[in-house]
């Protein structure tokens, strides 16, 4: 397959484009990243090579981002794009790579920080964050900064990390150029406004502006032209769990439009629809049954389930409901909210709501990202997803995850699903001759199916080792026959399994890692890349802890040295996570 990432419109001669394509087209992710870094460095070392460039260097702007799902990273690149147009020379810094001393050298600093889980920094930013908060953080006198915080009002510690960084930068002597903004899931519009205002506030004097070619950052990923949201037909839908399982994990095959290209490790943003039955109940409880236009809007584009403090506040503001207000003022609202949805609020505090009011207390319905479980080298114009149906009972009501139940319960083969590519260049395969260790229990195995398919298709020389786990061997072994085939044809070298409910003692992937620690360390010493995908709350932490213990045990290291060894793996991008 010939890949021509450099477009014909690039500012090179036709034969030069061909030469570039010959080099860049087959380049691995690592090679491309190196080139990008090299060229950026070249620019930094010399004046802009464009003859039309102004004689003086553009104003540097440091854009620091702490990202988990990629939103902060995308916003950071938006900042860079706009900054260039305004004559800045932007430098994007992933917090994973931050050297604190460099921060002190920055004159202008924009921080885009996500808050993850229960008020935690993104996994890759954990160490730099701790250093920034720690005693050894350098003074930042003379640094002008602005912070954009990303978060989710559905969680109690909304934007906690952005808030903390904002306060810390000021405490270290930085000068706040623009007030922080705290963004919810519907961040696009407020963020765009804030970026514009911030860049103008930080803007250098007009004479510094030169002619800079705006290079779209995303264009560095030639395989990922942004087609926006596409409607993909579901060509296959299979519940991979046995009919005897309590779980339902849907394997979905989507037909993609021409030109839709993705890499192993990328995700798809799925744009779900709400359960019409739930929406009808909500309309009924709000006294709005029969409003067909509102119904359609709520089903298709509003988050009608999430209940947060903010929702409660908006509800009180809209209804002035005395009991709801009392709850809000009581200080018990946070615990009342736990396990409840918007419908519970509306039913608990009956009030006539206007269509506008009901809409206003909801957020826009955001997409849900699912790792792509296939490689295009094997499935060409398809993308496969692995979706666990989330269903549970809370406070006497059956609940379901919006996106997963949309897929599992309400879509059938032949229908369409709205999806958008969400590239994840941090979770990519290494060079083909490198070994990979993949830890992916449950739906965490999805990207590793893509990895194994890719490695089969490319006849990669590196070895592949998968740790998989679920509840039961017999009824929950996702893609069992495919792993058997992969072991047979060599695309997978080894598989170690952990099924938690097969025996009285629960066995998880980290236990199997511990059992295999000698081989594990041997592979890592041999340069293996270590990938973790799946549950962030427990699994990913247990896996990391176990790797530290394994290194300590096998190599006879003290705990701190083993921890440092794992940090070194993280820094060198050989310990890579995609957790949720």
């Amino acid at each position: 397959m010939k890949i021509s990432p450099i477009p014909k419109t690039a500012p090179f001669a036709e034969d030069e484009i061909e030469v570039l394509n010959r080099v860049v087209g087959p380049a691995s992710a690592t090679q491309r990243a190196w080139l990008a870094g090299f060229l950026a460095g070249l620019d930094a070392a010399h004046a802009a090579p464009q003859p039309a460039a102004p004689p003086q260097a553009a104003e540097p702007l440091t854009i620091l981002y702490a990202t988990e799902s990629g939103n902060a990273e995308r916003l950071a690149s938006d900042v860079a794009k706009s900054a260039r147009k305004l004559g800045f020379k932007p430098m994007l810094v992933d917090m994973a790579d931050l050297e604190l001393v460099n921060l002190a050298k920055a004159r202008r600093l924009v921080v885009i920080a996500s808050t993850w889980g229960e008020g935690e920094p993104p996994a890759r930013a954990v160490h730099a964050y701790a250093e920034l908060m720690g005693e050894k953080a350098p003074r930042l006198d003379g640094v002008e900064f602005a912070v954009l915080a990303l978060g989710d009002t559905a969680y109690a510690e909304f934007c906690a990390i952005g808030k903390a960084i904002d306060a810390r930068l000021a405490a270290l002597g930085g000068k706040r150029a623009v007030d922080r903004i705290d963004c919810d899931l519907d961040f696009a519009e407020p963020a765009a406004g804030w970026i514009d205002a911030t860049l103008h506030a930080l803007a250098p004097p007009p004479e510094a502006r030169g002619t800079v070619i705006a290079v779209d950052f995303a264009a560095r990923q030639p395989s990922a032209p942004d087609l926006g949201i596409v409607e993909a037909e579901i060509t296959e839908k299979i519940d991979l769990n046995s009919s005897r399982s309590d779980k339902e994990t849907v394997h979905l095959e989507l037909a993609l439009p021409a030109g839709f290209a993705y890499q192993p490790g990328d995700s798809l943003d799925v744009y779900p629809q709400n359960d019409p039955t739930y929406v009808d109940e909500l309309l009924q409880a709000s006294g709005l049954a029969g409003d067909a236009a509102l119904r359609e809007k709520l089903i298709g584009s509003r988050d009608v389930t999430t209940l947060s403090l903010k929702t409660l506040q908006s509800f009180v503001a809209a209804t002035n409901h005395a009991d709801a207000k009392a709850l809000l003022d009581s200080g018990n609202a946070a615990s009342w909210i736990a396990g409840r949805h918007l419908i519970d609020l509306v039913e608990a505090f009956p009030a006539a709501l206007s269509a506008e009011a009901l809409e206003k207390i909801t957020r826009p319905l955001g997409p849900r990202a699912y790792s792509i479980a296939s490689s295009q080298r094997e499935v060409s114009d398809e993308a496969h997803l692995l979706v666990a149906a989330v269903r549970y009972d809370s406070l006497g009501r059956q609940r379901a995850g919006v996106a997963s139940s949309h897929i599992a319960d309400r879509l059938t083969k032949g229908e369409k699903l709205r999806v958008k590519l969400r590239p994840n260049r941090h979770f990519a395969l290494p060079a083909p001759d490198k070994d990979i260790i993949m830890v992916g229990p449950g739906t965490g195995v999805a990207p590793f199916r893509a990895f194994v398919q890719e490695r089969r298709a490319t006849a990669a020389a590196g070895r592949s080792w998968l740790f998989f786990g679920d509840r039961g061997f017999t009824h929950d072994f996702l893609y069992q026959l495919e792993w058997q085939d992969a072991l047979e044809d060599g695309a997978l070298t080894r598989i170690d399994l952990a099924f938690s409910r097969d025996a009285p003692e629960k066995v998880y992937v980290q236990h199997r890692m511990w059992d295999a620690r000698r081989d594990l360390v041997d592979w890592l010493d041999n340069g293996a890349y270590f990938y973790v995908c799946g549950d962030a709350k427990n699994m990913a932490k247990d896996v990391r802890k176990t790797l530290v213990r394994a290194l300590a045990d096998v190599k006879g290291l003290v705990p701190d040295a083993a921890e440092a060894a794992v940090r070194e793996l993280e820094k060198s991008r050989r310990y890579i996570q995609d957790v949720y």
């Binding site: 299979i238 519940d239 991979l240 769990n241 046995s242 009919s243 005897r244 394997h251 061997f473 017999t474 009824h475 072994f477 996702l478 893609y479 069992q480 026959l481 495919e482 792993w483 058997q484 072991l487 598989i495 170690d496 399994l497 099924f499 097969d502 025996a503 009285p504």
Partner: protein, 573 residues
């Protein structure tokens, strides 16, 4: 291409297995599959396990990108069916932790635990070993569980019979260290000369499975006519066992549509003294080892060896090997093959309670009998032993008189069945679907419903309390010994059965094929007029099996090949 006399595939597997090791250890380590290799699947039987899969799920598995729902059936040997309360507790625990939560009593006094996945096999086997139990030779081409009448109410005769059964079992247990090596992480003991590793069996073991039973007349509960080798205890005037009649060449299995295969009742070979029983057993086993057919597994049981060589030649060879001629068989009389339910009291004053276990399946049925829990509670309080009967029932044995009440209370509390019809208490079914790979039709899951329908008819004819032996199997291999039942249903295909009638109530004569390919309604339609005629025409004390022959519904079945002669309904009711 194999010539007719080449050893069968299984023979070659045994030969190459290094005394049943094969590649089982590697197979256990292959986590990605719940199965083991085809060759190892043959060998694992000798270790007491069958690789099976849940046939109810076969349809959906491939689509869900899963292999068959493989799991193992583990069969635990209980010579004479005797089990201590601690052993029972262990079995129930293994069933709960690693199996499907049920304990299955078999028709040969052993116990089956179903649904044990490969990754749990060693844990299960370790627990079983810890309770001083073993699964080796519970299946495979070896002598299997040695049966013995378990009801010790004739205390002295029973004790002697049991002692012999245990001695034979011990003597004929395979010696290969492979069992400990593979399952119990025992140290590997290398090589060795064949006659040192397996002095009786050698490296290819027996041509086919081998079954031994010991009976204590007048009860023929162990179905002595159905085994390769049986011993019938002959009591002297004081009630002590003087010796045993030796019977050879019984066996149930056959294949539909292959008249060269047939069930057969055993022939009396002679009489031996108690102290000669083990030597006689060894001689019978080794003659079969050397004379049995090793090229055609459907012609490899001892019954075919006897048919082919003749009983006289076989006896002569056995006597040559023991160096001791057998005496002529002595007189004996059996009354029935069934169990005596409820309490019995032994000569020694101890009490024994026989509990009805439908099809041998011990489990808790929501809203029904909770046998699993109930028996666990009894085991906690019981200081003697449990015994498994050849009719898949369970005896709480050797209870002191003053503890009967406490046990009765537990029986009542857990809703153990009582007031069972004469048909149901004489019923047996094999496991069949969904776990047995050989099943052509349902058996254990269907028989209870069929019985309910038949009970309505029997009741209408006033026959509800009459003992009638009925047995069902899902295939013709005969695990529930159907050919020795007065009414037998043998699976032919999904929902279809062949109906046999006319075996002797004491188990000495086989039934005869009466009608073929019957579904549920056809079974009821076929039996209804026979029940009606039996109620009308039977003579005093005449059993159903004898009646249907006298009344001309079927011919009396001859033995061996004659089983297939003169079949079909002879009288239209």
């Amino acid at each position: 291409m194999n010539s007719a006399n080449d050893p069968s595939r299984v023979e070659r597997i045994k030969e190459a297995s290094a005394y049943l090791r094969g590649t089982l250890e590697e197979g256990l380590r292959a986590e990605v599959t719940g199965a083991i290799s085809e060759d190892d699947a043959q060998l694992v039987k000798f270790h007491g396990m069958y690789l099976q899969d849940d046939r109810d799920l076969r349809g959906e598995r491939a689509k869900k990108k899963m292999e068959k729902a493989f799991a193992f059936m583990i069969r635990v040997r209980f010579p004479g069916g005797i089990c201590t309360p601690v052993q029972w507790h262990t079995l129930a625990g293994v069933a709960r932790d690693y199996g499907n939560g049920t304990v299955r009593l078999t028709t040969r006094q052993s116990v089956q635990l179903h649904g044990v996945i490969k990754s749990n096999l060693k844990s299960a086997l370790a627990a079983i070993d810890g309770a001083l139990l073993a699964t080796i030779a519970a299946c495979g081409d070896v002598n299997r569980n040695v049966m013995c009448n378990p009801n010790p109410f004739q205390s002295r005769a029973h004790a002697a019979a049991l002692k012999t059964a245990r001695a034979i079992s011990e003597h004929l247990t395979p010696r290969t260290p492979a069992y400990r090596e593979i399952w119990l992480d025992g140290e590997r003991i290398a090589g060795g000369e064949p006659d040192m590793v397996e002095p009786i069996y050698g490296k290819t073991y027996l041509p086919r499975k081998f079954k031994i039973a010991v009976a204590v007349p007048p009860s023929n509960d162990v179905d002595v006519y159905a085994h390769d080798l049986s011993f019938i205890a002959i009591a002297d005037k004081r009630g002590d066992v003087a010796g045993f009649n030796v019977m050879v060449g019984g066996g149930m299995g056959m294949t539909h549509g292959e008249p060269d295969t047939y069930p057969r009742t055993g022939d009396l070979l002679g009489f031996c003294r108690v102290e000669d029983a083990v030597a006689a057993a060894e001689a019978v086993v080794t003659v079969q080892r050397d004379w049995g057919d090793r090229s055609n597994r459907k012609h490899a049981r001892l019954k075919y060896t006897i048919e082919d060589h003749g009983l006289g030649a076989f006896r002569a060879e056995v006597e040559r090997r023991t160096g001791r001629p057998l005496d002529p068989p002595r007189a004996f009389a059996f009354t029935s093959t069934g169990d005596r339910y409820g309490w019995t009291q032994g000569e020694d004053g101890r009490s024994h309670l026989t509990i009805f276990v439908e099809n041998g399946r011990v489990r808790d049925i929501p809203g029904g009998p909770r046998l699993l829990t109930g028996l666990a509670r009894i085991a906690e309080r019981h200081d003697a032993d449990f015994r498994f009967t050849a009719n898949q029932n369970l005896i709480v044995a050797n209870v002191a008189r003053d503890r009967r009440e406490a046990i009765d209370a537990l029986v009542a509390e857990h809703g153990f069945a009582n007031g069972i019809s004469g048909l149901r208490r004489n019923a047996m079914a094999c496991v069949a679907l969904p776990t047995c790979g050989l099943a052509l039709a349902e058996s254990e899951r269907y028989l209870p419903d069929l019985l309910t329908a038949l009970e309505v008819r029997l009741d209408a004819h006033g026959l509800a309390d009459d003992d009638v032996v009925i047995r069902m199997t899902g295939c013709p291999n005969g695990c529930a010994r159907p050919y020795l039942a007065e009414i037998a249903l043998v699976g032919k295909g999904p929902g279809r059965y062949n109906l046999y009638l006319g075996a002797a109530f004491d188990g000495s004569r086989m039934a005869k094929l009466y009608a073929e390919d019957l579904d549920h309604d056809a079974i009821l339609a076929a039996l209804e007029p026979v029940f009606a005629a039996y109620a009308r025409e039977r003579q005093n004390g005449e059993h159903f099996g004898d009646y249907v022959i006298r009344a001309g519904f079927v011919s009396a079945s001859g033995n061996g090949r004659e089983f297939h002669h003169d079949t079909g309904a002879k009288r239209r009711a």
